[in-house]
């Protein structure tokens, strides 16, 4: 497959692994956080850690849209489906996130909720057109990658006069999450989470560009290398990060130059700015309440805001006490450090959200890498 196979070439990987091995300085260790679940998935799926020298440690970050969605938000979506009789449209991964009372969207569907998996916001709009007598709500989750399509859907619904369409907006912002991690006591004060640099998001950066990360490089002295989601991208980014660390640099470098520019996709940014504004605060799973870290729908488009239309209130719901998703999302713990991992909590019966999506650190390690813990 052109443009794919080139980035999964085993021979090139070997050479890159040799280069990384040659760059790594004796007695020094390197901890890099891959922010995105897409990178976490690639690292596990291609067995990338087998190729890295032991001195390089990858820390999984919170960039998995499903993982950071708090229980209370899923509860709102379930409430819409079960108690307001709406057709709830959602992206596939979201269906299995555990919510209150042992429910998930999948289980709510079995209880009679009209919950439909869609591949894009266009499908949700079509469902609204096809069912003019029903309320259709799109459960909008994700980082900056999925935000522009939601903005476009709201503007189209406005133009096409689709009064039965609305959006439950749970879009969150990458830079806020990175700031939150860098400001956390584990990283800043106690040093319990050593972080020598970041692998910056791939798809998110195609939208927001590389500029927003410059602040982290300058202010926190952490190198950032933006990388694509293919395994060779990740290897190359690790090599670039090791070099920055060795040379004492803290810069934003762009490995994913085939898709990411410094300014990003300005048209998409404009659409997002037209439809959304900052939320004063938003609860993240793992990071708790983070100020100005998410988006809400502007007053101009209030008619399409499901929270207003159905008068929904957000109620914070604590995670299962034994679940370590929070610490795992901040890089403080590894999946296998959690008592529930692989015992009570498995992909078939997830307790925490990190075990749901294949991008989640726990699901990725359970599905692809757990043999390493057992032999």
């Amino acid at each position: 497959m052109k443009y794919i196979d080139e980035f999964r070439d085993g021979e090139l990987a070997k050479n890159l692994a040799l280069s990384i091995g040659a760059e790594v300085q004796a007695g020094r260790s390197y901890s890099f956080m891959e922010f995105c679940g897409g990178h976490t998935h690639a690292i596990s799926r291609y067995g990338l850690s087998d190729l890295l020298p032991p001195a390089v440690r990858m820390v999984h970050g919170p960039g998995c849209p499903v993982c950071v969605l708090p229980i209370g938000r899923v509860d709102m979506a379930i409430d819409l489906a079960l108690n307001h009789g709406v057709i709830l449209c959602t992206y596939g991964d979201t269906l299995r996130i555990p919510a209150s009372e042992g429910l998930s969207l999948m289980k709510a569907k079995a209880r009679g909720g009209d919950i439909r998996m869609v591949y894009s916001t266009i499908d949700a709009l079509q469902i609204a057109r096809d069912n003019p007598a029903r309320e259709v709500v799109f459960f909008a989750i994700g980082f900056e990658t999925t935000t522009p399509p939601t903005a476009v859907a709201i503007q189209q619904a406005d133009k096409q006069n689709l009064p039965n369409f609305s959006v439950l907006c749970c879009h969150v912002l990458t830079p806020s999450a990175i700031s939150n991690i860098l400001e956390s006591p584990e990283v800043r004060q106690w040093g319990t989470v050593p972080l020598d640099g970041f692998i910056g998001p791939a798809h998110v950066s195609t939208v927001i560009g590389s500029r927003p990360y410059e602040f982290f490089a300058e202010e926190y002295r952490k190198p950032v290398v933006i990388a694509g989601f293919e395994p060779l991208d990740v290897m190359q980014a690790i090599l670039m990060l090791v070099r920055q660390v060795n040379e004492g640099r803290a810069e934003v470098e762009n490995e994913f130059s085939r898709a990411v520019t410094r300014d990003g996709n300005l048209k998409a940014q404009d659409r997002v700015a037209e439809v959304f504004e900052l939320r004063r605060e938003f609860e993240w799973r793992g990071l708790s309440v983070v100020p100005y870290s998410a988006l809400k729908i502007r007053r101009q488009y209030a008619a399409f805001d499901a929270e207003r239309r159905f008068d929904l209130d957000y109620k914070s719901v604590p995670d299962n006490k034994a679940c370590d998703c929070g610490a795992i999302l901040r890089g403080v713990k590894k999946p296998q450090d959690c008592k529930l991992f692989g015992t009570v909590c498995t992909p078939e019966n997830p307790i925490g959200s990190c075990m749901v999506s294949s991008e989640g650190a726990c699901a990725a390690h359970y599905s692809y890498g757990r043999y390493k813990d057992m032999h």
């Binding site: 497959m1 999964r8 596990s44 291609y46 798809h203 992909p347 757990r370």
Partner: protein
């Protein structure tokens, strides 16, 4: 009065309207309409000496192999595919292939099929005729007649057009033992061809996802290919058709039953570029996508060459390949060396494969 009676033609029933007609509740009510549907549609296409007996059950000769009695193998499968017609096939031929294959992978020669239809009120008779014709072709090609059947009609909204359950009976020679518990460390793991074709062909036609992929379902009866493999006399341990859950589910099943592990090699696993591309943008893994005309064979390593040669000489096994080995592993993991040079587990699927968001 006498004049009116004279106009009634004895035994005349207006034929089924196979162009515009639709299934209605009378077709399942046990009355004349039901008999008519059976005779004008099912019996017409599927007819044979056993189905023609017209009794509540078919009377069949005792199965023999070269004149000697064998053991009976029986398997049943419900088919609920959506859409009913897809590139490369339809629910009709699928319902024949699925059950013929389930019997054949036991090492048995499939002999007879039974078919049960659940029809939804309002279903077009023209579509039903297409499905039954397709079944008839598939049954004829596989050499396995449909000898008995049943039809029920459910109210509109209580079915999804057509559900078909088929049951197959076959005969297995004494001494031939194939089974999921027989894999041993060192054995070869073989597939008969490219993976994921059926699942991707179906997905390409789903209502909310239609995309143009020049890909057809691989649905096919494997009894001919299996007969050729058995004829080599190779030490075959287990045959399976990797349908739902794909290669991954089937190998995990065998690993668990046999108490062994497996080591696969990603580079050796045949996947068509168009299937790989579709899976790539849908966020799916072809190792978990369904097949309907492929088989997995576990055989003694020393016999792998012989088995592969026999498979490649058959039209349905041209792309057969050894994709890995059985290994000793107390955890019964199916593992994969990635073409990238790393290693990972090929785990059971948790529920359906759902597309990722990012």
């Amino acid at each position: 009065m006498a004049e009116a009676q004279g106009k009634i033609r004895r035994g005349y029933v207006r034929p089924l309207d196979l162009k515009q007609g639709r299934v209605d509740l009378t077709h399942g009510s046990g009355g004349r309409s039901m008999v008519q549907l059976i005779s004008e549609l099912f019996a017409r296409h599927l007819g044979n000496e056993y189905l023609g007996q017209g009794n509540d059950g078919a009377v069949l000769p005792a199965p023999t192999l070269a004149g000697r009695p064998g053991r009976i193998v029986m398997s049943t499968d419900c088919h609920v595919v959506s859409p009913l017609f897809f590139p490369g096939g339809d629910i009709g031929c699928l319902s024949v292939h699925g059950t013929v294959n389930d019997v054949a992978v036991m090492g048995a020669t499939p002999l007879y099929l039974a078919a049960g239809f659940v029809l939804e009120e309002g279903f077009p008779l023209a579509d039903l005729a297409r499905i039954v014709e397709s079944m008839a072709h598939a049954a004829k090609d596989a050499g396995v007649p449909v000898v008995t059947g049943d039809t029920k009609v459910v109210e509109r909204g209580k079915g999804d057009g057509v559900f078909i359950t088929t049951t197959g009976v076959g005969v297995l020679p004494d001494g031939l033992e194939l089974g999921g518990a027989r894999a041993r460390p060192g054995d070869a793991v073989i597939v008969s061809g490219s993976l994921g074709d059926h699942g991707v062909a179906i997905m390409s036609k789903r209502e909310n996802l239609s995309f143009d992929a020049p890909i057809e379902s691989d649905t096919a009866a494997l009894n001919g290919l299996i007969a050729a493999m058995l004829a080599t006399g190779a030490d075959l341990r287990c045959l399976r058709d990797p349908t739902r859950g794909g290669l991954a589910a089937t190998l995990n099943e065998i690993a668990g039953q046999s108490g062994v592990g497996m080591m696969l090699h990603e580079k050796a696993i045949p996947v068509k570029p168009v299937v790989a591309a579709a899976c790539e943008f849908l966020g799916l893994d072809p190792l978990y996508v369904a097949n309907e005309g492929k088989l997995i064979a576990i055989c003694a390593a020393a016999d792998a060459g012989r088995v592969l040669n026999a498979m490649r000489a058959h039209p349905l096994g041209r792309e057969a390949a050894q994709i890995g080995e059985v290994i000793a592993d107390d955890h019964h993991f199916v593992q994969l060396t990635t073409s990238f040079g790393g290693r990972r587990i090929v785990d059971w699927l948790a529920g359906d494969q759902l597309p990722r968001i990012c």
